[in-house]
Subunit: 125 residues, 2 copies
Amino acid sequence: MYVINNAGLTQASLPGLVHQTLAGSGAGLKGLSVWRQTISPGAATPPHRHDCEEVVVVSAGRGELHIADGVHTFGPDSTLVLPRNVNHQIFNTGTEPIELVAVLSMTPVEVVLPDGQPLPLPWSS
Amino acid sequence: MYVINNAGLTQASLPGLVHQTLAGSGAGLKGLSVWRQTISPGAATPPHRHDCEEVVVVSAGRGELHIADGVHTFGPDSTLVLPRNVNHQIFNTGTEPIELVAVLSMTPVEVVLPDGQPLPLPWSS
């Protein structure tokens, strides 16, 4: 399957967050997952980490990246670079939805909470 | 460097193609490159392959993916899944620019032409 029509992909959600897996192990990939997410104003991802690198391309919205011990603000048209195994959390602190594509160097993606407990995801990754 | 303002990134080009490296080895990554490209109507990428997986998220425009021995059309809001070491080429066959984000599971990315000769890229990847 070389071409996927994104409109036909299923959606999943977490509180304030809508998710589509654009491509991952289900598309035959071995070491890439590509997700598209919308984060509502006032919402956030869970705090988490994973044993792979992640890059987040933000096309709309404003927020904060909480990572390690720092807080970094970002606006639309930003790229977030998240090293392997560093706890992070993305907050929408603006008034518009955050639209992002997240890329991870693993598939399926195994996510853990900051205390090391697994975080089951409500989507195939 | 956790947050990159994309507007400050340098641009590079190939004929009919404008490129920005959003993140890669220059941002400290070990196994991910993320590129943003615009392909003009009538233009195409060079035919090429690389020893890594690639996912292309197309947000606007229409075209054809030529891969292996097949031709696959795509429209806006599509995802292209390109296996490791398979020759491919993306053509803009529409009337609007193709806007895409390409994700590769390698950094820097070593690209070769179908005949196996290296294809030097005019950007850091």
